[in-house]
Symmetry: none
Subunit: 99 residues, 2 copies
């Protein structure tokens, strides 16, 4: 047991950096988290969401991230958008092809 | 038996991340699954399809994915569309080339 406590299991998720924007992308913050639960908690504090419900979606295509295993499969520095009630994911006007 | 339990078979499919949208692409969720059967099961729960029949098709061109071996040949983060009775795959209006 001593061994198990002093050496983290290889399965224990490592803390990794992520980026989180609000729905209109006017604010983007860097946050380190070791789990989806941890990230949700830190997003709530960092973006001052008080106790309002919100979802995290991928900035690139609006995919909702709501399971720990999907979260762990994401790359470092994945960019999330926070969506609160009534907010919808939209393509960034800064992406895409402009001629 | 101990051996079998502690070392997963090299043939056991690894859990991989996928993305699944409903037919009108208004919702997209990230789901980790190790098999087509597992994904179908999780899609039913995640998109709240109750016991209605549905198919999974590739978002890019509507290819129906109904065999385990074809599923295993797909890349990580493949995007699927759920089609229920009467629904048809359509090109996304957000894709394609706009000039």
């Amino acid at each position: 047991i001593q061994q198990l406590l002093s050496e983290p299991s290889p399965k224990a998720p490592k803390a990794r950096p992520y980026r989180v924007s609000n729905a209109d992308r006017s604010v983007r913050k860097g946050i380190v988290a070791h789990s989806l639960k941890d990230l949700l908690h830190k997003v709530r504090d960092t973006l001052m969401l008080a106790d309002k419900p919100f979802s995290l979606v991928l900035e690139e295509d609006g995919t909702v991230v709501e399971t720990e295993d999907y979260f762990q499969a994401l790359a470092e520095d994945t960019v999330f958008i926070v969506l609160q009630k009534g907010q919808k994911w939209q393509y960034s006007s800064k992406q895409g092809y402009q001629l």
